[in-house]
Symmetry: C2
Subunit: 204 residues, 2 copies
């Protein structure tokens, strides 16, 4: 495989997904770090050479650049046990990964970012006005996961897939965004299953 | 292939993606319609039997249910020409599909929904307060597409893929959300390429 470089901010759960996928598969990954709080992913150089959308993570494969965390995880995991071999299960795995980016990340990850890194006192009025809606949206997403995991060990099929990795990243640190993990016992058992996997690495 | 049923609201671009994918591939699809304005996807029956997340579209395959529009498109298109055979291109296609759900749909589709179906006069204060941010977010997403399409005919590789279908759905009707297509000439040429495809079907 070509040389793999992860352009990342180590505080980002989206970046962590890619590191966890690579670790579980035993693939080495070189890391280049940016500080998103200082606008380092919005510089003309970054926009021209790494990602015109001004965001990390970006997985660099040789001289090609792949933005979007879940697409990067897919690239790394193709033909591995982290992607189901059954056609329906494979699509169902993508279903949870799209759910993660639409229903979970914009609520759970954004509140963590605002409360842990920006600080509630420094939020602007627009951000403050969205806290309640993001709290409700995040709780609804966690509730969907809780119900699904009550009778299952993994989100899709009988073993860990990228769906679990994608949703693990921000779920296991959701308390930093004010969510209460003890309200979700099935999620807690599932988090322990993920962190108990061979070759698991923790978030920085 | 098993019997395919699309649970949809025909006004939704997310549902249209699935119909367009099926049409381009010549796959028949039975349609069951719900009125999201009347809460028909939040009934106990729908939540229990179709999608616990209370959303359409859901693609029913035999007796199994697959939510998330882009996952349903993936299921339909597996092993077809709509998914690239090259590994990087396949992940890059998913990259644009995640971009669509994260950067494009929550801005472009939501403003269309609010302005065309709810009506500006009926928006609540929370929604009104988000219009400017969603306008800016939608324009930024369209600008990323415009720059990318200036030197390309399709979003990924040399031919149409699911990335084009996913982003076509709400882009081609974005003026209903107050976006101005004539600001994006490369996007306009790309929209014509999509609508000129053999077996293309229009949105209802």
């Amino acid at each position: 495989m070509e040389d793999l470089i992860l352009h990342e901010d180590p505080r980002s759960g989206n970046c962590y997904k890619i590191r966890l996928t690579a670790a579980l598969l035993g693939k080495p990954l070189r890391r280049v770090q940016y500080d998103i709080m200082n606008g380092e992913t919005r510089t003309p150089d970054f926009l021209r050479n790494v990602n015109a959308n001004g965001r990390i993570p970006v997985l660099q494969i040789g001289n090609r650049f792949l933005p979007e965390s879940n697409a990067a995880c897919w690239y790394l995991a193709e033909s591995s046990r982290l992607i189901p071999s059954d056609r329906f299960d494979r699509a169902d795995m993508l279903r949870w990964m799209f759910f993660e980016q639409y229903n979970h990340e914009p609520n759970v990850a954004t509140l963590r970012f605002w409360l842990l890194f920006v600080g509630e006192a420094h939020l602007n009025e627009f951000q403050k006005g969205q806290i309640m809606a993001k709290r409700a949206g995040g709780e609804a997403a966690l509730e969907v996961m809780e119900e699904h995991l009550k009778e299952r060990e993994w989100l899709v099929g009988k073993t860990v897939t990228l769906a679990d990795i994608a949703l693990y990243a921000y779920t296991h640190v959701c308390e930093a965004g004010g969510f209460r993990l003890h309200d979700y016992p099935a999620i807690c058992r599932w988090l322990d299953r993920v962190s108990g996997l061979p070759r698991y690495v923790s978030m920085d």
